[in-house]
Symmetry: C2
Amino acid sequence: MAQKNRLQYIVLGLLNIESRTGYDLTKAFDSDIGEFWSANHSQIYPLLKKMEQENLISHHEVQVGTKLVKKSYDIMSDGKKIFNDWLEEPSEIDSSHDEFILKLYFIDDKKPELLEKMVAEQLSARSDKLEHLNQQMRDKFPDQDKRQTQYGHYCVLKHAISRETDYIEWLKTI
Amino acid sequence: MAQKNRLQYIVLGLLNIESRTGYDLTKAFDSDIGEFWSANHSQIYPLLKKMEQENLISHHEVQVGTKLVKKSYDIMSDGKKIFNDWLEEPSEIDSSHDEFILKLYFIDDKKPELLEKMVAEQLSARSDKLEHLNQQMRDKFPDQDKRQTQYGHYCVLKHAISRETDYIEWLKTI
DNA sequence: AGTCTCATGTAACCGGTTACATGATTCA
DNA sequence: TGAATCATGTAACCGGTTACATGAGACT
């Protein structure tokens, strides 16, 4: 089976806001999107080519100065469809990149019922994970002794619990 | 330039605790280490082979039952050296995996002065990042208006700030 | 006897990073 | 005119995922 290709959804999400060039898209990863995803132009340009072949996006040319012609990409109906389908899908929780955050970035005030569903799903999944982490803590560090001899491991677990707790608190504010 | 190959350091860190088979190492990523890193056996076995060729580790054979022979890997002096050198290096902050967490896991109570240095470094870097995020918030969402029309983006940024704040608080407890 | 876990490997593929390469536009 | 930025592409490589493949040991 193929891998996720989440970068494609980010590109679609950005083009869904407005038409952009490959350069514009690359820039977006240096600022906003850069907080939670990164991509280089060497990955963007071939991807745009592939997505255009698949009819998810198209491009129109924009004359700049006397010689330079920019390619500005636009999302097409097929692209909009797979982007919206992706938004509706459940988000994977245990991946190295947070898929929920990714989707949340593209949610605007037009979809309150979807947002509510997504947040409820995340709350449930994150609460389960927190419970699992708390169980790990009880199993592995029941007393002060182990906390000293495996101090690093103890700290890492404490951090995971703290992070998850913070995540849940944040979810509740959405 | 080559990429980081942090998996190699995890393998060295685990073998530095005790001799293990490829299977044991793989299992470690399903439990403990799994909280912050993942690896499949298809990645472990070729890596062990490569690391043995580079004289970082060696293996001895262990007879199990009548036919099965396990390969149990041991860290060698070259391996210990590059592992300890890595622990001393500054940790990259803006990577998709948290390198500081990785190192912390392997720190035991024998290196208090190194731990102190690492924590101070992280505190400084994380504080800078938090300040940057706060600046972003001031720039992009100065008033209620933008927070509504780009609600998802606002939430993501709020989360980044919350996460960073929590991280700093946790660092202070180490 | 059959199923689950232990145990070790390879191959194909994908996503991402680094480096190579070129040229136009803008602004000081 | 020279430097910084805009703009677009390709190639080599690496790390990680999925799938293919095989067999032994433990336990019911």
